[in-house]
Amino acid sequence: MRENRAAAPAPVPCFETSGLTKVYGSGPTAVHALRGVDLVLPERELVVLLGASGSGKSTLLNILGGLDRATSGRLFFRGQELTYATPSELTEYRRRHVGFVFQFYNLMASLTARENVALVTEIAEQPLSPEEALAMVGLEHRLDHFPSQLSGGEQQRVAIARAIAKRPSVLLCDEPTGALDSATGIRVLEAIKNVNETMGATTLVITHNATVADMADRVIVFSDGRVREEHVNEARKDPKELSW
């Protein structure tokens, strides 16, 4: 499938950016988080963004996810320009297309695993059932547990289930393993890979852990607000083969 698509004539990419910049503040205290980013991210790929903290990778992820706006440059999602979208259009975009996974899970403490997922399925158009989504991350036996009763890895997997339950077009993961030990982190990465493959959601994973790059279709290395390097992995490793 992957190969077929690569051969197709000029497919519309999932994301396309040109000259994206982001400046926080102004004058002498201005921080240039992005200094002109040009990227083309094809559909269905699993992309890993590498870089030291402060390199601008999270800023890019937030702009792609409709959480933040670029200072200049243009952004297209499936050929549609998002550069000038209004806040409510961005909300609609996130609601329909984007699944987020964060370093600190961001679950609702007052809802069980099933209910946390249901939170999203209730406002989605053609969602998975919460039970299906949780089964995809291997948590079918922890449906009625509250976050306080789950381990960190389990909480992160609930967050992934919540992100994918709406069948998102893109899955954006910001340091999904950052707060986890290596073994747990690998289980979480497996879940992400599984989702990417079975659902076909274009997946971006931010990490400063270079090992994770081995599981990606495409690796983009950030430094000082710019793309320093971009390469496509000939062979992806399974997360099980990773270790750090």
Partner: protein, 795 residues
Amino acid sequence: MRLPLPTLISALDRKLLRDLWGMKGQALAIAFVIAGGVASAVVAQGMLQSLAETRRAYYERYRFAHVWAPVVRAPNSLLEDIRAIPGVQAAETRIRAPALFDMPGMEEPATGEIFSLPDFGEPAVNEIHLVRGRRPQPGRRDEAVVLESFANAHDLDIGDIVPATIHGGRENLTVVGVALSPEHVYAIAPGQLVPDDRLYGVLWMGRDALAQIADQDGAFNEAVVRLAYGASETAVIDALDALLDRYGTPGAYGRDEHISDRFVSSELEQLGTMGNVLPPIFLLVAAFLVNVVISRLIATERSEIGLMKAFGYTDRDVVVHYLKLVSVMGALGCVIGVGAGIWLGRSMASLYTEYYRFPFLVFQADSRVYVVVAAITALAVGGGAAFAVRRAARLEPATAMTPAPPPDYSKAIGTRITNLRVLDQQTRMILRQIVRFPARAAFTTVGVAVSGGLLIGTMFFLDAVEEMIDVYFDVANRHDVQVTFVEPRSRSAYFELLRAPGVLDGEPYRTVAARLRHGHLEERVGLTGLPLDARLSRMIDTAERPIVPPPGGLVLSRDLADKLRVEPGDVLRVEVTEGRRPVLDVPVAAVTTTYLGSGAHIRIEELNRLLREGPVVSGAFLTVDDAAAVALYRELKAAPAVASVALQTLARRNFTATMDRNLGTSIFIYTAFAALIAIGVVYNSVQISFAERARELASLRVLGFTRAEVSYILLGEIAFLTLLALPLGAALGSGLAWSLAQAMSSDLFRIPFVIEPATYGYAGVVVIVVTAASGLIVRRKLDRMDLVAVLKSRE
């Protein structure tokens, strides 16, 4: 915002100031609740002191009498005997005559009284305060001093003429002075419910002049007495009664039966009650708010507290640090409250001067009031902070520096209800928050309910007064005019009145002054005889049923029966203190509770029979055709047999107008007080909810929830709790109203426990509007929330 802070301040105190600045909205909300308590205490206590002190000084300076002893006619020489009574410090005799005033430009007759002033010098008792002009010159029967309220109502000035009918004769009196008197602080006609400055006048004339007009040459018809310090009022009254018995005294009485003073005393009692009710409510709410807010702050600053301790700060430093923080709020509340209290007190004092006429009424609270208020505030605020601060002091540094575990919702009691499948997840989050933190939810609910309850409990007075007025005028006293004859007259005089122009209906009455005795208990009353089928003026119980005096017995008002300790079936000794002064034994046939006034009623035929007189009447109640009223008034003003004419309907209209004028102020103050509590509670509750859930709310926004959907989670909880609070507030308000009605009822009036649906409605609307407004203020923060920043933080 960065505050420029001088380096003199310690690092910890800088943190304190920045903390305060960071929570300025909440701190201010708490300060305002404290201010509400402080202001209400300052107003109530200060007004109480000002009024009491003003009254004391006024009475003292103008030698207000302690005892009044009316007689029919007694020789002037008796004054020496009165002065010689042990316990009498000063005594004065005078002439007091009822009068009708035919005021220029006013069709209705005004009634009132004329008092004599000594021809030379000041009266030893009951001096007047001349506002302008002078006293009448000796022997001038055309000169008079006028009570200021009457003068103002008629635009009377020095040199104007007041035509008066006194003792059946017409006199044209020239105004030579305008005065106030301690006897007429609350200027109300005897037997009237509401004051009417246009219809009730008081004049003073020279003694000789008035003696001639009132046929009291060489005599007096009232002695007024001031008691020596520590003297027994009862003993002096007994001595006066004994001395004046031969001269037809209906019995001497003290200040407790002086109508003006009774109104002032009743006002003081009400202020005292309000002063005991409002401040504690505010300070209790403030204490809870401080507790909630400081608990939250300490939870947020957990790791900082751990750090402080790790650096070597002691538990005491931590306690002092947070206590300083709350003392700033307390001090701010005190300052605002004292300022607002003084301002409110001043406006209240000027409102009082509309009803209570003192030569001066300055709002001034004793410094002790401020000290006590400050101490109580400190206690409330400190008490509120104590629990939370103690928890902070007990934190172990190592534990404190690790992040707090996420709140566990799995074990909350009542979680089961929130598992219902029909609920969407947002609603579930709202409900789980409530069951997880039930104490906070309960406090918020009770706080909002208290605010609504307070509004109902205060606004209820307006309903109560209206109800009293309605019952008094529409059910009990449905006549337009009450005519009182100079002397009791035969029934034909009554029939003559019925034939007067404009009179539609009438009803005679007979009233005699009497002393009711039961054992050693004794009360002076006007014993009123009414026809069996009384329609125009009747005794009405609190269920609005007319009381028909049963044959052969008296009906007593409940307060009178209680004072005499009698129940139906007991026999009272009735000593009639006028005419032939018979002494009778009459059984009590019924006891009834009335809103207004106290008294003893009997059938008129029965009273005539007991007095062994023919069908005699003291006057009549009349209903009048408006179109012909002018002609009737003209006739009454000219009738020598008429002593006074009371115009009920007009008095009511004027009183209602005055009430309505001041209604806005009252409603504004009550609403402001209630709103303070609601704002304090709701703003803090939503703010804390927001602070605790900012991360969750931001996450939801990121997940694609719209602002409206996320606002629902933030504000749904307060909306739900407010809905719960509404019925609770109605119940609390009813309870408060009931207890205030009990506490403030006096023998002057029983405050009915009546709350109009509109009052509940108004309170509900105020609570909902204030809740919504406070909630929306916090909601704006939701709009400004930096989603990215919130997600990056680890809480």
